[in-house]
């Protein structure tokens, strides 16, 4: 029972980060109908922006988090202006290749600039054990999951309750109609990409703090799983994407706890593929290209 609770906790913590990354994919896809392959590496860029700010400016927690948001948000803005907007309305393959190119550039650029190996992260917050004994929980885990939950709640609020959030859903369903009713689709696209990037950057900083390191190839770890979560949930309901991401985290943690960590990804992807086989549009439905 202790093992179960421990793994449930661990799973929800890792799953909450998957959820933030997956939501970034979903937000950009529903508004721009583009799979942003650069998204996981924008996440990684945010992690390093936080690291650099922590080393060179201040290791104050808020400074590091803000740097993560700004760094990733700026890359998102550049991606939208330089790649996504010029390629809008062109063949979907061109946009896919464009974002893939940016992903490779970011990964290898960061590896060349910083290091191809994990780099130590500044200690912006102390690592305090909150629970010890049969179930363990640290302050950084709490911070990590709190940040993710705040982001998820914030996005939910934005999309459901605000004027631009409504426009986001309107574009997702019928982009032409939204523009004919006064929505500047370019502007909402830009907001969506920057928002998805900035929240990825913040989540990345909290992951960096939690594990004490940043890595130029960390995007691969989170990107594929988060992308698959979006496919399995379907992109129609963002809350669905969150639930599936949390569930994936828990499944992974359970496999690690009860069987072996080497089986973790195999089982997780097996479950996701089985679901997709029976529900190709995802559990909660999808907008298509």
């Amino acid at each position: 029972m202790d093992l179960f609770l421990q793994q449930l906790l661990n799973g929800l913590i890792i799953g909450s980060t998957y959820a933030v990354v997956a939501l970034g994919f979903a937000l950009v896809f529903t508004v721009l109908r583009v799979i942003n392959f650069a998204h996981p590496d924008i996440f990684m860029t945010g992690m390093f922006a936080g690291l650099l700010a922590g080393v060179h400016i201040s290791d104050n927690f808020l400074v590091v988090v803000a740097a993560g948001a700004l760094g990733a948000g700026a890359v998102g803005l550049a991606l939208e202006r330089a790649v996504l907007r010029p390629l809008r309305g062109k063949d979907i393959l061109m946009t896919l290749l464009g974002t893939l190119g940016v992903a490779i550039m970011l990964q290898n650029g960061m590896a060349a600039l910083m290091s191809p190996d994990p780099v130590a992260y500044p200690q912006a917050l102390p690592q305090i054990p909150l629970l010890t004994g049969t179930i363990s929980l640290s302050s950084l885990q709490v911070v990590n999951v709190t940040i993710s939950v705040l982001i998820l709640a914030g996005v939910s609020y934005y999309v459901r309750m605000t004027r631009y959030g409504r426009a986001t859903r309107a574009i997702a369903e019928r982009p032409d109609l939204a523009s004919a009713f006064g929505v500047d689709v370019n502007r909402v696209s830009q907001i969506s990409v920057v928002l998805a990037s900035a929240m990825g950057g913040v989540a990345a900083v909290s992951v960096g703090l939690l594990y004490g390191s940043a890595w130029a190839f960390v995007g691969l770890l989170y990107g594929l799983k988060a992308f698959t979560c979006m496919l399995v949930a379907g992109n129609r309901y963002f809350e669905g994407v969150m639930v599936v991401s949390l569930a994936l985290g828990v499944v992974e943690a359970m496999v690690t706890g009860y069987f072996s960590s080497s089986l973790r990804d195999a089982v997780a992807f097996f479950v996701l593929i089985v679901i997709l086989y029976f529900r190709p549009n995802g559990l909660f439905g999808s907008y298509t290209v």
């Binding site: 426009a167 309107a170 019928r174 939204a178 523009s179 004919a180 009713f181 006064g182 929505v183």
Partner: protein
């Protein structure tokens, strides 16, 4: 009186296939005008060109002395043109209330928007009952009410109506045409595309006949309705 909307020499093609070839059309302030024509005549294309959703090959579309052909759709809407699209085209996953709010997206003052929506609920009490339902779950007639209310909340000068009676029960069709009259009495001009020529000619001031992308006739609605050729094609040959 000068025209509110003035289209001249409009050419639109999809890929290399011409859909509209040299159309001239005016709508004057306070009028209801109708474009009649069979499927594929290019009626919807004209509407989409006005809205900026398709880019014309050549020709000019002027609205209140502003050239529209180079403006993006959201700017055209902000200039005072709204739309009741073919087949309603509601945001089916959004609630009725959110559909109406989207109709007035250009107005940032939420309180002002709610006031206008409240006025719509006064006129269409059925929509108030259904405001928290997703629009996709409504009946065809109710959906058409939402589509019309959505077009009105932005306080437009001109509403483009694309086949407003299509796929509706005969009772509802009568309501829709009565509503067209009512909207027009509010001082809003209407350009309508219809296949239901008989009803459309009753509410319209002026009518155009479109055949394979060209205007073949234009005149007062009553005169057009009396023409032998029109009666044969659109009114089933009966008086």
């Amino acid at each position: 009186m000068s025209a509110l909307l003035s289209i001249s020499g409009l050419h639109v093609s999809y890929k290399a296939v011409p859909a509209v070839s040299g159309v001239d059309l005016d709508v004057r302030e306070g009028e209801v005008r109708v474009i009649l024509g069979s499927n594929g005549a290019g009626k919807t294309t004209i509407i989409k060109a006005i809205l900026g959703l398709v880019k014309p090959l050549k020709g000019s579309i002027r609205f209140r002395d502003q050239e529209l052909t180079r403006l993006p759709p959201h700017r055209i809407h902000q200039g005072g043109i709204s739309w009741v699209p073919e087949g309603r085209q509601l945001w089916g996953t959004l609630t009725v209330l959110d559909n109406l709010k989207m109709g007035a997206f250009s107005e940032p003052d939420e309180a002002a928007v709610m006031e206008r929506i409240e006025a719509m609920f006064e006129r269409f009490p059925r929509l108030r009952e259904r405001r928290f339902q997703v629009a996709g779950s409504l009946s065809g007639g109710e959906q058409q009410m939402v589509a019309i209310a959505r077009a009105l909340v932005s306080r437009p000068k001109l509403i483009l109506m694309d086949e407003p009676s299509l796929g509706l029960a005969p009772m509802v069709v009568r309501d829709v045409f009565a509503l067209v009259k009512e909207i027009n009495r509010m001082g809003i001009s209407i350009l309508m595309v219809e296949q239901n020529a008989r009803q459309a000619l009753k509410v319209a001031d002026w009518a155009y006949l479109l055949e394979v992308g060209r205007m073949v006739e234009s005149g007062r609605a009553a005169e057009i309705a009396a023409k032998e050729s029109v009666r044969e094609i659109f009114l089933g040959g009966r008086a």
